[in-house]
């Protein structure tokens, strides 16, 4: 079965890059541009993996992960945050919010795919 991934980023170019890479590898990709939109999408359907940026308007990625973990359907869904190397504390915040792991920015398509393959 095709795995479905919810990619959340406020930057259109990052979303496109993620979309292009993941679709090329045969994943289905849903996209949202901030936490609020992602939460709505996540409630409306289920996904196999959530990939989210940290800094976004309206609702940031950490809050999104925390909110998602309260949904029964998302109790065990892997969630990865996209973060920069300099934000060690963001990784910790992400973890305590319930993130499975992270992808360090910048990443190239093979790195993204390798990391995604670690969780689904």
């Amino acid at each position: 079965m095709v795995k479905r991934i919810l990619a959340v980023d406020d930057s259109a170019s990052m979303r496109q890059m993620v979309l292009f890479t993941l679709q090329g590898a045969g994943y289905e990709v849903l996209q949202a541009c901030d936490g609020v939109e992602a939460l709505d999408m996540a409630r409306a359907s289920t996904v196999d993996l959530v990939l989210t940026d940290v800094h976004m308007p309206r609702m940031d990625g950490i809050t999104l992960v925390r909110e998602l973990r309260t949904l029964p359907n998302y109790k065990f869904v892997p969630m990865l945050i996209l973060t920069t190397e300099s934000s060690q504390e963001k990784k910790m915040d992400g973890k305590s919010a319930g993130a499975t792991g992270w992808i360090v920015k910048p990443f190239n398509p093979p790195q993204l795919l390798a990391t995604v393959a670690r969780v689904i």
């Binding site: 930057s11 890059m17 289920t46 973990r69 190397e85 973890k95 993130a99 792991g101």
Partner: protein
């Protein structure tokens, strides 16, 4: 930069997005000066952060490196670690400019201005180097390094590793699955794991969502320690983890009770079903040559085309022959067609319309920079930013507006001490307003500064022989002298304005757009410059005039008035050029019949109508036989369909299918004034 074609496509989105991000940063920074609210700094930070992330992802290292410093500074500001000073804002604004150029250079694959980048980097580093408000946030620089540094350097590689892995019970809840980690370890080298089930509770107390197992793992092979750290990176705070090279010491966990292969935790993944509906990423348009159009506008047009098709099919039913009874329906159909066509035309025109905010948006920055430079305090007020006008008009009005704003700041508004001395608030107000008025767009640039010095203007105009020594002018006429070529009253030439060119260029640019500019000013109170522009260049509000059998179009905007001519007020100069005296002013008379070689009803100026037109502050009378209707005409280019003809701005097709030429008023007036020689004094308003 070598990106594969797909990535290069996406990089284009990144460039557009970066430009938008920089605009956000700039306007955010400009408003930061007034209030340092957290949400604003957050927005600026996010924009910088996205640019950094994107540029690093697409491999634009210089952009990413430069943005890193900017981002760090903003991060400290939003955390309250670093004060928001005007100097820091200024540096960040310059960094925005620099980034904008870097993005453009990257896109054009041109080299960066390395000196400028280095200089700004030094500025930012300098700010960052100053002692912060409080202790800087710990661990800000590369956090991954410390984990590795904590490990004994000698044990970096060995023939194998022994790993004791005791996760916390809720490991699975965040979907860190040991099985996946083991699969990854297995791919690194010969791997064995023995599960320790000592923590397993009795079955009735067992929580199926918890992880009670721990493992002793051995993995053989030349595996760098870093690879192992990577595998356990996500869980290192959720487990007890000991990694030691084989042979260095004993296993750290007690020997497992059962030595079965690790039981796999139940796969708890939720089944997925249903179609994917990935929202397409909106592609952003390039800077010029294309327009971003609201979907609504396009939908509207599609609707109208549908309506047209319906009407068309309704009318085509009559093709077989019209019965008298059908006439009513035919009329109905035709009026429907007329309405649809008009609406369609309006909608299509709408596509070219952009809000004037595109031109206004640059002013907060310009005013900020300029007022700093001039040592003046200025409050900029914008209104009517949503007023839409044609893209071409918008692009062409932008530079004249900048000029007017610079002038208002430099010459109009006074320095704070002079304002206080004059009993005004120390900070001046500059207003930019746009609104509709009678089918035109009005843009006003208002300041509450010193106003124009009429005496000085008069003196200067006389010095330069722009007006006659004894010429009497109204206040309004005096003010508008500043639009004459070669006029500048700036006592000192500054690098902001006052080079003696400018206002006349501004007026010419506006006239070329079919618009009109005038200034009114009151000494000590301020000045208002009022620009009137047509909504679009594709359609003209025209006055149809008749000469003999021919019909011509004159732009309504250019027409001042139309009068019947009294014989005694027409004079002939040098036996041939006629001038007409209108309220103490002599206007050269242009006879369309002579100009275009058509046979008029009458060659006598007193029998026709004189249409007084104005452009560039000069007036002329155009003699025609009759005034016909006023109507909007669609301008067809003569240049692209035939060749440029002097005196003709274009052509249009009238309702009956005949072609009417549109008169190029500025060109006509120039010719007329030239022909009448010095005999006619230029009108100054």
């Amino acid at each position: 930069m070598t990106l594969d074609p797909e990535m290069a496509e996406i990089a284009k989105v990144f460039f557009q997005e970066s430009r938008e991000g920089l605009d956000v940063m700039e306007s955010g920074l400009l408003s930061l000066g007034a209030t340092a609210d957290t949400e604003n700094i957050n927005t600026i930070f996010r924009a910088a952060h996205s640019i950094k992330g994107g540029s690093a992802t697409f491999g634009f290292a210089e952009v990413a490196d430069f943005t890193h410093g900017v981002e760090t500074l903003l991060d400290q500001m939003r955390n309250g670690v670093r004060p928001v000073t005007p100097e820091a804002i200024q540096t960040l604004l310059q960094a925005c400019d620099c980034l904008r150029e870097m993005v453009a250079a990257t896109e054009a694959e041109k080299p960066h201005d390395k000196d400028r980048i280095a200089a700004l980097n030094a500025d930012i580093t300098h700010i960052l180097g100053e002692p912060p408000n409080q202790a800087p946030t710990p661990g800000a620089p590369s956090g991954t390094a410390d984990a590795a540094a904590a490990q004994p350097a000698a044990a970096n590689e060995s023939s194998g590793w022994r790993i004791a892995f005791e996760p916390v019970v809720d490991l699975l809840r965040v979907r860190n699955e040991p099985t996946r980690m083991f699969a990854e370890l297995n791919s690194l080298g010969a791997f064995t794991a023995r599960a320790d089930v000592s923590r397993l509770p009795p079955l009735d107390e067992l929580d199926p969502e918890s992880c009670y197992l721990s493992w002793n793992i051995e993995i053989a092979g030349q595996i760098p320690r870093a690879r192992l750290d990577e595998v356990f990176d996500w869980v290192d705070s959720r487990c007890r983890l000991d990694i030691v090279p084989i042979g260095s010491c004993a296993p750290l966990l007690p020997e497992p009770v059962a030595s079965a292969a690790a039981p796999l935790p139940a796969n708890l993944a939720v089944a997925q079903r249903g179609p994917a509906s990935g929202a397409p990423v909106q592609k952003t348009a390039g800077e010029s040559g294309s327009i971003r159009v609201a979907t609504e506008k396009v939908d509207n047009i599609i609707n109208l085309v549908g309506e047209l098709l319906i009407t068309q099919s309704m009318l085509s039913g009559f093709a077989d022959g019209i019965e008298p009874d059908d006439l009513d329906r035919l009329r109905q159909g035709l009026s429907q067609l007329a309405r649809n066509t008009r609406e369609l035309q309006e909608s299509v025109m709408q596509i070219r319309m952009l809000p004037i905010s595109f031109a206004f948006n640059r002013f907060p920055r310009i005013v900020h920079d300029l007022s700093r430079k001039l040592g003046k305090k200025v409050e900029l007020k914008l209104s009517g930013e949503g007023t839409e006008l044609d893209k071409t008009v918008l692009e062409k009005i932008s530079d004249p507006l900048v000029h007017l704003v610079r002038n208002a700041l430099d010459h109009g508004l006074e320095t704070p001490d002079r304002r206080l001395a004059a009993g005004k608030h120390e900070s001046g107000t500059l207003e930019l307003a746009a609104f509709h008025e009678g089918g035109n767009i009005i843009i006003e640039v208002r300041d509450d500064g010193a106003g124009l010095n009429k005496a000085k203007i008069l003196q200067k105009a006389r010095e330069r022989a722009l007006i006659a020594e004894d010429q009497d002018l109204s206040d309004e006429q005096i003010d508008n002298l500043i639009f004459m070529p070669g006029f500048s009253t700036a006592e000192q030439v500054s690098d902001v304005s006052g080079r003696g060119v400018g206002m006349d260029v501004v007026r010419r640019n506006i006239n070329d757009l079919g618009g009109h500019v005038q200034i009114s000013s009151k000494q000590g109170v301020g000045s208002t410059i009022r620009i009137r522009l047509p909504l679009t260049l594709a359609i003209l509000d025209g006055q149809l005039v008749r000469v003999g059998k021919e019909v011509y179009v004159i732009s309504l905007l250019a027409i001042v008035e139309t009068i019947q001519v009294a014989r005694e007020r027409v004079n002939t100069l040098a036996g041939r050029t006629e001038v007409f005296r209108l309220r103490d002013e002599y206007l050269p008379v242009v006879k369309l019949c002579d100009q275009f070689g058509v046979e008029p009803d009458s060659r006598n100026a007193t029998d026709g109508l004189l249409v007084v037109v104005e452009s560039d502050g000069k007036r002329a009378g155009v003699l025609v036989d009759d005034l016909l209707a006023q109507q909007q005409v669609v301008i067809k280019s003569l240049e692209s369909n035939f060749k440029p003809v002097s005196g003709i701005a274009g052509a249009t097709i009238l309702g009956d299918g005949t072609v009417a030429l549109i008169i190029d008023v500025p060109d006509f007036i120039r010719e007329a004034v030239k022909r009448s020689g010095g005999a006619v004094t230029a009108h100054a308003a």
